[in-house]
Every structure is written in structure tokens, then in C-alpha cells.
Amino acid sequence: MAKVRGAIVVDTERCKGCNLCVVACPTKVIELNDIVNGKGYHPAFPARHEDCTGCMNCATVCPDMCITVYRLKPQK
């Protein structure tokens, strides 16, 4: 079955590691990184990118507009 595939890009320097995107992701793609960014936060990153559907939930709840979302519609 062809499925919608998505990808996210996290601006890790902008990210404040609030974890809201992690909770909002229905397919559990995102995790917080162990490393810290320049502001001292653990930024979000797509740990399981292959499960991303491009649903935008993460970007929708992200208060800091750190996430850009791309989506690829399935080809016949």
C-alpha cells in the first residue's frame, strides 16, 4: 500500500526542547536529542524519520516555529 511520506527539518538552534512536538507526533517520530544546543536545550530531532507522514502536528504545536514539514504524495 502506497502511503504518504513526510519529512521534517528542525531548526535545532531555535528549538527550546519543550517536548510538545514529541507528544503531538502520532507516529512517534520525534525525540529530544541527548546533546544540547547553543542555548542549553536538548533539541528535538526526527529519530524515526521513516514513520513520518507529514501530518504537521509537530509544527502546529511548536511554539517556536522550529519545524518545517515536507510531504510526498504516493505515486501510482
Binding site: I8, C18, N19, E50, G54, M65, R71
Partner: protein
Amino acid sequence: MSENILTPEEIIKTGELVFKKTKLMTDAELSYCPGCGHGVAHRITMEVIEELGLEEQTIGIAPVGCSVLAYEFMNVDMQEAAHGRAPALATGIKRVYPNKTVFTYQGDGDLAAIGTAETIHACNRGENITIIFINNGIYGMTGGQMAPTTLPGMNSSTSPYGRDVHTMGYPLKITELVAMLPGTSYVTRQAVHKPGLVRKAKKAIKKAFELQMENKGTSFVEIVSNCNSGWKMTPVESNEWLDKNMLDYYPLGDLKG
């Protein structure tokens, strides 16, 4: 099978860009705490301005409170008001420029305590403005003191044993008050702690601005939001607490219009 082997880089390259920061938000880093609902509320407000093509005619007003620096983030002409006076500024602007789009962005201390008179009277005159009201039940900027909207029993630095309604009064349902005024065209209460609610809130804000452009009177959008620092919780906990506790007292949905 072929889709599954696409790398994220390939999707980014070939796929459709479905979400990126609106250009009506500046690149300045938001001054809010991690996980604060202000960021989302800012963003969806500015997305609506962009989608309605109002960028060149919009004048926004920042309040005093956590969002005092909203003018650093919202990429339109902005004015910064004295505490509580944003609706008066908005009135002044709208009266001299009836065809421009004017909105205030205010927190609960600003709008529902010190600025109650300005809020009620702007709404009562039916000023053709849009008021975005962020209610997080606490004074965030000054360090978590009791707000007019703090829930009964809720702790804050000035109600350390919980808000006692007998001595401190009840949480002010100013949105319900405003809905009773004939000057308001649309009064709604929304939230932004879940993706679905964010989308609904954005629709509400869009409707609010559309009604302003139709000169229908004051449109008023309350957004129940979190203050994890003030509430002394993690962002995720604060959103759960909000969902469990705030919405009984501040039920979501349209109150009018």
C-alpha cells in the same frame, strides 16, 4: 516498496513544502519560555493576516505582560501599549483609519484586570477591532502572581495556599461578560495545546478578522493557554493540567456569533 527507501533528503527535495514559518513572523527568537502557548498564538494570528492578504494594512498592538515584546516577533506595523490600554490604542487607530485592520494581543492581567474598563468599553462601542486574549490563569512575566483568571484553589506566588474565592474573589469570566455586550460580533474561546485545537483556534481567528473587515463590530478570541513556568510544571504536564482543570471553568467553543 520504492517509497520506503526514499531518504528524508529526497522527500525534502522532491516533496511539497507543507509547513514553514510564516514570513509575518520575524526571525527573532521568541522570548517565551519553552512550551509556552504564546508562540503558537502569535504564529496562527500572523498566518491568518498573511492568508487574508492584510499584511500591508494591519496595525497590531502589544500589551504589557509576557507578550510585551510581541512587536519584535510580529512582522507588521506594531504599537506597544501601556498596561491594559491596548483597546484604547486600537480605538484611536481604527477611528482615524477605519479601513485598516487593527488587533490587540493581550494577556489576562492586561485585559481582564488593569484594562477591564478599556476592554469592556471598546467591546461595548463595538469598535471594529479584533482582540486576541491569552488566558493562562497567572501573571507570567512578573513571576507567577495571581491573575484575575487564576482558578479557585490554584496556587500562585500571591495565593501561595491556593486562591481563596472568599477573600480573593472568583476567576473573572471576562469572555462571557464581553459576549453579553451588543457591540461584539463574535466571541469565542479556543485553546492551542493540541494540534486539532490549534487548527480550530486559527479558524476562529480567521473568522474574527473577516468579521472586522466586514465592519461587524468587535471580534474577541480568548485562547486558554498554559504557563508552565508560572504553574511550575513541564510544558507537557502543563498542557495536561490545562486540559484537565482549566477547561471546566473556561469551556471551549463559540459564545457568540
